[in-house]
Amino acid sequence: MNWLSKLAPPGVKNIFTKKDTPDNLWIKCPKSGEMVFSADLPSMLHVTPAGHHMRIGPELRFQYTFDDGEYTAVPIPAVALDPLKFRDDKKYTDRLKAARTKTGDDDVMSIGVGNIHGNQTVVLVQNFAFMGGSLGMAAGEGFITAANYAVDHNLPLIIFTAAGGARMQEGALSLMQMPRTTIAVQALRDASLPYIVVLCDPTTGGVTASYAMLGDIHLAEPGALICFAGPRVIEETIREKLPQGFQRAEFLEEKGMVDRVVARKDMRETLANILSVLMKTQTAA
């Protein structure tokens, strides 16, 4: 939308919309404003030259995390579908269907088991592209499944979080995922297994206020928004603009909530080092 599309009648608008180039051939970096060629992104791990870490889904995350991108997927048990019979303008079940078609996944969580520099690890990825990564019953079950798998196989758990918060369409059943996932974290703790949280953009609301802040180690991707209440809600409450960088990964590091902000290109190595120490892996040297 620009000033022209606001002025022009609907028919005329189409003339000015360029349809001759495929969508997203070029992507505008939100950090620097420069145009980045889409085809170049995979080789840059979806990080723009200016350092903006783009949101990525489970497939790329597993590929960037595991040795040779190899892993085994762990299935997540089904959960009750729409117990509230929720609808706003659309039915919740229709929104779910649309998200499933769009992402090819059942819900927000995907579990992969593979090696990170030889350390066998369970990795859980929360996909923001699926209904804003929202924490509902399926996400809760995904988290519990991943933690149980880790406990059963004596493996560490790493989660890459990303969520706008709770899934409102599941009401209080969504809220109950905060204690449910916390119980799963406790199971890892009782088994003396490492639980590492990598906070990705954005991690907010009930997700931050439960399993995302209960890790043994908290890493974060540069620039990620990490908060309980979102900036808009706070600005409405205090009626003033928040400073630049407020609630970003670097800010949380400064405030003592995050151990390290780690660039995507260094994430694998950082995780491998932490895992090998915590799991007391025997090294050649």
């Binding site: 209080a172 905060m178 204690p179 928040l242």
Partner: protein
């Protein structure tokens, strides 16, 4: 009785009846015998009130749950806890008046008690930040739960908050981490733990102190993942559609009992807790006492195991 004189919008028929009674009461001095008529109107008022409250929906319940004269933490504490010693501070940063607590006895049983306090006057509402805690409140809750565990005392919590405070300082000092730790502690304490959602159970700020062995809700209280106004503003970009959101989110005690999210409902006096505060407080006290006695029969490790199983099973039973 003056406190029952604040009527909610949906209570208009009752307000009209009551004002008729008032008028007749004034006539009484003038040597006309209206006592029979008054008695009849009073009976009618109670009958209508009973019927009205039997069928009120989620939005009406939201208003009842937020009624300024509904008993708050301090009312329950004064009515139910003897030998009370208030305890303050999180030992890290400060004291949070939105979440109060201390030591005392409930029906003779030594307990640690805590809860959100909204305040009942403008001045007090400001002191208590309208019942919206900062991280210090949740860190104090963790401290109190640790204290309870060390001395093998049961924990009783009263939940009545619109939510955790969405402020700048709260975020800077780790609101999310404070809530997460409080949930974590509540789920693992070996002490018996009873929670009463007495008014508003607002989101993360509520669950932070509601991970109990027994979670009870007052008949007209609400418990939700986001306020009806917040939900409406996200879904329809229109906070005024809160009524629709309240209905869609299934926030009533009755709905949540059917989903297995809560363990029990405490009935309110006719016309809601605010119409007979003393009666409400004593009902709550009796129910908590019964739950504490039941939980005291269980070995601590068994309580923790059952508590965790209970939360893990929430939602699983709904799978067809």
């Amino acid at each position: 009785m003056s406190f029952a004189r604040t009527y909610l919008n949906f209570e208009r028929p009752i307000a009209e009846l009551d004002s008729k009674i008032e008028t007749l009461l004034e006539l009484k001095d003038e040597a006309v015998d209206v006592s029979a008529e008054i008695a009849q109107l009073r009976e009618k008022s109670v009958e209508q009130l009973t019927q009205l409250y039997q069928k009120i929906g989620p939005w009406e319940k939201t208003q009842v749950a937020r009624h300024p004269l509904r008993p708050h933490f301090t009312d329950y504490r004064k009515g139910l806890i003897t030998d009370f010693t208030p305890l303050a501070g999180d030992r890290k940063f400060g004291e949070d008046h939105a979440l109060m607590g201390g030591l005392g006895r409930l029906g003779g049983r030594p307990v640690v008690v805590m809860g959100h306090e909204k305040g009942d006057t403008t001045e007090k509402r400001l002191i208590h930040n309208f019942g919206m805690s900062n991280p210090e409140g949740y860190r104090k809750a963790v401290r109190l739960m640790e204290l309870a565990e060390r001395f093998d005392l049961p924990v009783v919590s009263f939940v009545d908050t619109a939510g955790a405070f969405p402020g700048r300082g709260a975020e800077e000092r780790g609101q999310a981490e404070a809530i997460a730790r409080s949930i974590d502690k509540g789920l693992s304490i070996t002490s018996a733990f009873v929670s009463v959602i007495s008014g508003e159970g607002g989101s993360g700020g509520a669950i932070a102190i509601a991970t109990a062995d027994s979670v009870l809700m007052l008949e007209h209280s609400i418990y939700s993942v986001i306020s009806p106004e917040g939900c409406a503003s996200i879904l329809w970009r229109d906070g005024a559609r809160a009524k629709d959101a309240a209905k869609a989110m299934k926030i009533t005690a009755q709905d949540l009992k059917s989903f297995g999210v809560i363990d029990g409902i405490i009935e309110e006096p006719i016309g809601g807790a605010h119409r007979d505060r003393a009666d409400m407080i004593s009902r709550v006290g009796e129910r908590i006492g019964a739950e504490l006695d039941r939980l005291a029969q269980l070995p601590p490790a068994e309580r923790v195991k059952l508590r965790k199983e209970k939360f893990l099973n929430i939602g699983r039973s709904l799978l067809g």
